[in-house]
C-alpha cells in the first residue's frame, strides 16, 4: 500500500514537472501572468510530491517491508535502525530518488526566495529546471523504479553492502548530491539567460549565492567521501583517482572556476560568454558524474548498478540537456557583449588565468577518467590511468595555479601594477622558502615534494594574511581605524580569505599524508611486536566478538614509545555473513601532528595476524582544512553584495574604485 502511494506521488511529480515546463515555455509568448504564477506553485508541488515518495520509501525500509524489491535487495531485519534509514539511498534506485528530492528541493527553495528576480528570467529558469525534473523522474519511473514489488516477499533481505554501513555513508551522498544538484539552478539560470539573450552584473548577483551553496556542499561532500575512504576502506588511502572520485572532482574544478568568473562578471560585467559556458559545463559534469558511473560505461569499485538499458536512457537525458544547452549556447552566446575592459595585468586577467588552468585541470581529469574507455572502444586493449599520471600532470598544474592565489587578492581590478604587489608579498615568499628548507631538514627523507608542498602552503597562508592586513591598512593607520575597517569588510572578502586559508591547510595536509607517510607490516602472534619509527606496536590479544549483523575478530594493540604507552588501539576485521563480505575497521590514533593507523588482516595459523601500520602526518588537517574551505563558502553566501537585489537594477558600470 505504501509502495503504491509512493509510486503514485512519483508519477504525479513527473506529470506536474512536464506540464509545468511545457506551460512555461509556451507561456513566454503569451506573457500571461497566470502562467508565471503557476511557476512557483508548481515548483513547490513537485517538491512535496517527491518528498512524499521519499517518505514512503523510508517507511518501507524502516519497517523492513521485503515485498518491496529494493528493500529485499538492500536491507535486513538485523540491521540497526540508523542503517535501515541510510540504506534508503545506499542503493541505485533510492539514491536516484534522493537526487530527485534534492533537485525539487532546490527548485522549491528558488520559488520561495526568488521574489526580486524579473518574471521572464525566473519563469524561463523554472521551465528549464522543471524539464530536468521531468527527465529525471521519467528515468526513475521507467528504468529505476524504487517502488517495484517482489511477490511473494522473501523471509529476510540480502542486507546492505557492509562497506556502506557506516556513518560516512549517511552524510556523504546527500552532501555530494546537494553539491551536484545545486548547480542545476545555475545551469537553468544560464540557459534562461541565453534564451533571453542577455546577462549582466545583476544576473551574476542573483546566481552567485546558488553557485556558492552548491560549491560549499560539493566541497564538504568530497571531503566526507575522502574521509569515508580513509576510515572505512581500511587501506589508509583518502584519494585514489577512482572514476567515481574523479566524477566529483571535475564539477568541483569547473565550479571553482565558475564562482571566480562569476565574481569578475558581478564586479566588472565582463567574461560573460565564458561564465555562462562554465555554468553549463559544471552541471553537465555533475550529471555525467552521477550517471556515467551508474550506466556501466565506466566501471568502478564504487558502482552500485550496471545496467545497459539505464545507460541508454541516461545518454538520452545527457543529449537532451547538455547537448540542447550547448546548442543554445552556440546560437546565442554571441549576443552576450561584455562592457568592462581590462588590461593584461589586472585581477580580471589573473582570475581568467585561474579559470583557464582550472578548466585545463578539469579537462585533464576528464581525459584520465575516460581515456581507458576511448582506447577500449577503438581497440581490444585495456589500459588503466592511475595516480602516476595525475601526479605528473595534475599536481604541477594546480601547484602553479596555487602560486597565483595570494597575488590575485592583492592585484587591483581593471589595471594593476605587479611590482608593488610582489613587494607586499615578499615576507610570504621568505616564509615559504624558509618553511621549505625546514621541511627538507626535518623530514628524515629529504623529499623535494614535501619541501615544495610546505612552501606553497606557507606562501598562500601568509599571503592571505598580508592581503587582509592591507585591506585593514594595519600599521598604516591607527589600530582603532584598522579595526573599524575590519568590521566593515564585506563578508565576501572574508569568505575568500578564509577559503584560501583553508586551501593552504589542505595543501599542507596533502603534503603530509602523501610525501611523509610511512608504513610497515608484519605477521604477529599475540605478544609479538613490530617497530615503525620510534614506535613499538604490540599485538596484545585477539578476541572473537559478535555484532548485531556481523562477527568480528578484534585485535587489541598497544603502541609504545620508549616503554611509555602512547595509545591503546583496537582494530577489527568484520565478516557480514548475509552478504559474505568482510570489512576492515581500522584503529586510528589521531593527533594534530598525525595519525597512527592500524589494520589487521586474515590470520594464518602458523604465522599469526598480518598487522599493517601506517603513519600519516597531519592527516587530521585534511578534514580541518576542508571545513575551513567550506566555511569560506558559507561566509561568501552570506554576503549580500553592495547592490541590493530588491532595488531596481543598478546601472551596470558601478563606480567602485579599485578593489
Amino acid at each position: 500500500m505504501i509502495a503504491e502511494l509512493g509510486q503514485f506521488a512519483l508519477i504525479l511529480a513527473f506529470v506536474v514537472a512536464l506540464f509545468q515546463s511545457l506551460a512555461l515555455f509556451a507561456g513566454l509568448r503569451t506573457r500571461d501572468a497566470v502562467v508565471h504564477g503557476f511557476a512557483r506553485a508548481g515548483a513547490i508541488a513537485q517538491f512535496v510530491l517527491v518528498l512524499a515518495a521519499f517518505a514512503c520509501l523510508t517507511v518501507l525500509f524502516a519497517t523492513s517491508d521485503f515485498t518491496a524489491l529494493v528493500v529485499a535487495e538492500n536491507s535486513h531485519t538485523d540491521k540497526p535502525m540508523l542503517y535501515k534509514i541510510t540504506g534508503v539511498w545506499g542503493n541505485h534506485e533510492g539514491s536516484m530518488l534522493l537526487w530527485g528530492l534534492i533537485l525539487t528541493g532546490y527548485t522549491a527553495a528558488l520559488a520561495w526566495s526568488a521574489k526580486p528576480v524579473e518574471a521572464r528570467l525566473i519563469s524561463l529558469t523554472f521551465a528549464v529546471q522543471s524539464l530536468i525534473t521531468a527527465a529525471f523522474t521519467a528515468f526513475l519511473l521507467f528504468t529505476s523504479n524504487p517502488f517495484a514489488r517482489l511477490w511473494p516477499g522473501p523471509e529476510n533481505g540480502q542486507d546492505l553492502n557492509p562497506l556502506l554501513q557506516d556513518p560516512g555513508l549517511a552524510s556523504h551522498p546527500p552532501m555530494l548530491y546537494a553539491g551536484y544538484v545545486g548547480f542545476s539552478i545555475t545551469f537553468s539560470f544560464a540557459v534562461a539567460a541565453l534564451i533571453d539573450g542577455r546577462v549582466d552584473a545583476r544576473w551574476a548577483r542573483i546566481v552567485r549565492p546558488w553557485a556558492l551553496t552548491a560549491w560549499t556542499f560539493l566541497t564538504i561532500g568530497i571531503a566526507l567521501g575522502a574521509s569515508w575512504a580513509y576510515y572505512e576502506l581500511g587501506w589508509g588511502g583518502w584519494w585514489a583517482w577512482d572514476p567515481v572520485e574523479n566524477a566529483s572532482l571535475m564539477p568541483w574544478l569547473a565550479g571553482t572556476a565558475f564562482i571566480h568568473s562569476l565574481r569578475v562578471m558581478e564586479k566588472r560585467d565582463t567574461l560573460k560568454a565564458w561564465t555562462i559556458l562554465l555554468a553549463l559545463m559544471t552541471f553537465a559534469l555533475s550529471m555525467a558524474g552521477t550517471f556515467l558511473v551508474r550506466s556501466g560505461i565506466i566501471t568502478s569499485v564504487h558502482a552500485f548498478a550496471v545496467d545497459p538499458e539505464r545507460g541508454v536512457f541516461i545518454l538520452a537525458i545527457l543529449v537532451a540537456l547538455i547537448g540542447g544547452s550547448l546548442l543554445i549556447y552556440g546560437l546565442r552566446a554571441g549576443l552576450l557583449k561584455p562592457t568592462g575592459v581590462f588590461s593584461a595585468i589586472s585581477r580580471e586577467s589573473l582570475l581568467l588565468i585561474n579559470n583557464l588552468v582550472l578548466a585545463a585541470a578539469c579537462a585533464l581529469v576528464f581525459f584520465g577518467t575516460f581515456y581507458p574507455l576511448f582506447i577500449s572502444t577503438v581497440s581490444n586493449e585495456t589500459v588503466t590511468v592511475g595516480a602516476p599520471f595525475y601526479n605528473n600532470t595534475f599536481n604541477p598544474m594546480l601547484g602553479a595555479l596555487l602560486v597565483l592565489v595570494p597575488v590575485s587578492g592583492l592585484l587591483a581590478w581593471k589595471r594593476g601594477k605587479l611590482m608593488p604587489v610582489l613587494r607586499d608579498l615578499a615576507p610570504a615568499a621568505i616564509a615559504a622558502v624558509a618553511g621549505g628548507v625546514v621541511a627538507l631538514w626535518i623530514a628524515d627523507r629529504g623529499l623535494i615534494a614535501g619541501a615544495l608542498g610546505t612552501g606553497l602552503a606557507i606562501w598562500i597562508a601568509v599571503g592571505v594574511m598580508i592581503d587582509l592586513a592591507k585591506r585593514f591598512k594595519l600599521g598604516e593607520i591607527s589600530l582603532q581605524s584598522s579595526l573599524a575597517r575590519m568590521a566593515r569588510l564585506p563578508l565576501g572578502i572574508w569568505g575568500m580569505a578564509v577559503a584560501h586559508f583553508g586551501l593552504a591547510v589542505v595543501v599542507f595536509a596533502i603534503t603530509g599524508v602523501s610525501a611523509w607517510k610511512q608504513e610497515a607490516s608484519a605477521f604477529l602472534m599475540p605478544g609479538q611486536h613490530l617497530d615503525i619509527r620510534q614506535l613499538t606496536l604490540t599485538l596484545d590479544s585477539v578476541e572473537q566478538v559478535e555484532g548485531r549483523n556481523y562477527v568480528a575478530e578484534r585485535g587489541h594493540l598497544t603502541a609504545r614509545r620508549d616503554q611509555q604507552v602512547v595509545s591503546n588501539l583496537t582494530a577489527e576485521r568484520r565478516l557480514y555473513p548475509v552478504r559474505g563480505m568482510s570489512t576492515t575497521e581500522s584503529a586510528i590514533h589521531a593527533r594534530v601532528t598525525g595519525d597512527l593507523y592500524v589494520t589487521i588482516g586474515q590470520p594464518s595459523p602458523e604465522r599469526g595476524w598480518p598487522v599493517h601500520v601506517y603513519l600519516y602526518p597531519f592527516a587530521m588537517w585534511l578534514w580541518i582544512g576542508s571545513a575551513i574551505l567550506g566555511l569560506g563558502g558559507i561566509l561568501s553566501i552570506a554576503d549580500r553584495g553592495r547592490r541590493s537585489l530588491v532595488a531596481k537594477a543598478a546601472p551596470v558600470q558601478a563606480k567602485e574604485p579599485g578593489r
Binding site: A284, G323, S376, G580
Partner: protein
C-alpha cells in the same frame, strides 16, 4: 567573437557522446581473453595441505570441466561460493579450483568452513599460473573442454543466471560434439 568558435563545446560534447554510446555496448566484464580456444598452459600445483593430491593440467583432460580461480581473501568469491556448491552437488561438471595468492593454510581453512565444491584444488600462492591464465581478479572461471582447451572465460561471479544461460548451454554443446 567568432560565431563558429561558440559551437566548439557542442562539437566536443558530440564526439564524447559517440564514445559513450560505443562504451555502452561493451559488457564491462567481457574482457577479451587471450586463452580462448588455446590449450591450458602446463602446470602442476601442490595441494592446499600436506597429503592433498594437488592439481595439474592433465587432471582436466577427458571431460568438460570448470577451472575456478578463487582466494579466501576475496569477498566476491564468498558470494560465488554457494553457486559453486550447487553446481558441484548437481554433479553436472567437475569444478577444479586454483587457490590464488592465499596465505598458507588460509585456503584450506576457508574450504573447511564453507564447504569444498572442488574435485581437486591447486595452491597458486605465488600467482604464477594466474599470470599465465591472464587473471585480472578473483573470481574468474574457465570452461575447459575434454581436450584441455579453454572454450570460455568468465570474469566475476558465476550467478544463477550465468550458469543457466551461458555456461550450461556451452557445456551441453561441447558434450554433444
Amino acid at each position: 567573437m567568432n560565431r563558429i568558435l561558440l559551437f566548439v563545446p557542442l562539437a566536443i560534447f558530440a564526439v564524447t557522446l559517440v564514445y559513450f554510446g560505443l562504451g555502452l555496448r561493451q559488457d564491462p566484464s567481457a574482457i577479451p581473453s587471450q586463452m580462448i580456444d588455446r590449450p591450458l598452459p602446463a602446470f602442476d600445483l601442490a595441494g592446499l595441505e600436506a597429503g592433498d593430491p594437488g592439481l595439474s593440467n592433465t587432471d582436466l583432460l577427458g571431460q568438460v570441466s570448470l577451472l575456478n580461480v578463487f582466494g579466501s581473501w576475496c569477498p566476491p568469491c564468498a558470494i560465488e561460493h554457494p553457486m559453486l556448491m550447487q553446481i558441484s552437488r548437481s554433479g553436472r561438471v567437475p569444478i577444479y579450483g586454483v587457490d590464488w595468492r592465499d596465505e598458507p593454510g588460509a585456503g584450506a581453512a576457508w574450504l573447511a568452513r564453507h564447504g569444498n565444491p572442488y574435485s581437486r584444488v591447486g595452491d597458486d600462492a605465488q600467482g604464477r599460473l594466474a599470470i599465465d591464465l591472464g587473471i585480472t581478479g578473483a573470481p574468474e572461471t574457465f570452461l575447459v573442454d575434454a581436450e584441455g582447451r579453454v572454450r570460455h572465460h568468465h570474469v566475476g561471479i558465476i550467478t544463477e543466471d550465468v550458469w543457466r544461460n551461458t555456461l550450461l548451454p556451452m557445456i551441453e554443446e561441447l558434450e554433444r560434439s
